[in-house]
Symmetry: C2
Subunit: 189 residues, 2 copies
Amino acid sequence: MIDIEEFGIYEGISEVIFTTISHKGIPNAAPIGLHMKNGKLFARIYNSKTLDNILSNPVACANIVDDPVLFVRSALSDIEPGKIEFIEGFPVLKEAMGWIIFDCRCQKGENISVVDLSTIKSKISRRTIKPINRGFNSVIEAAIHATRYVVFKEQKYLEHIDYYNIIVQKCGGRREKEAMKLLYDLIRS
Amino acid sequence: MIDIEEFGIYEGISEVIFTTISHKGIPNAAPIGLHMKNGKLFARIYNSKTLDNILSNPVACANIVDDPVLFVRSALSDIEPGKIEFIEGFPVLKEAMGWIIFDCRCQKGENISVVDLSTIKSKISRRTIKPINRGFNSVIEAAIHATRYVVFKEQKYLEHIDYYNIIVQKCGGRREKEAMKLLYDLIRS
């Protein structure tokens, strides 16, 4: 029995990186909101590689991460293969603080599908103490707006990103600034 | 020798709660940005109870916290005495994940003073694993805008708070929602 609260997951939406694997064995990583409501865990997943992978192989791993560069890269690009390790054939992120592998039950929708999650296996690798950093938090918000920007190309998303970038430059550390640089490179490419 | 990086403090600005004590022995708690630049630690502190306390007793404790309710309360009101414990006569927050007590050297300015900090004593009580929660992060942003709103009473700060409240209601857990309720109660009172 896996106690989800041990992973710091409570009611609400936790932002994690989902790793999945295609039927050809190619791993994928992407940020997903892990919902917990009335004790039930689920994700709402747009049509994407993550969804395709879950539909062909109904397993997903929620990786709990604290590196802003890793978050941005998974949101807008592909994670480098060296960042991934395989646990009984399933991809997880080496740098994750912890991960939970889920069995998935997908209710397919036209644009968005609801995926119910049951825990299979989990690991906690690392616990930390870390003060609040508005720069880190702003990278996450910017990354979410960036995923919308690359799809819809609307100016308003860029304005949000620029707003958060000011906070990153003021409050962030080296990794947060690297993450923002990567974000701008990836949305301009 | 205290290794500040063990507390997750790197270059940039970490948001912590400063506890200080007045010359009459009354403790105070308020959120402060802990700056680290070129290996030096300092805070930029507006005229406030925190600054008065540091001027009369040049010691401050940086409490690293993860409870959104505690953060909002310290930003906009007084922390309940029951939340404070005394270490060799100096107030720290019981619920802090860790704390660092600093010797302060204050360069007084007209509105804002720069306080250089040297570590004296520290403790780590608790390390955690916690996924990114946009609700939690939004409480922090809302609290910062709220501290400006109560001083300047400008509508734009309320609009920022309302924007972040939408994210809190969507992504936050029980404590984040409690924190937002408290925030609105305190800025309306």
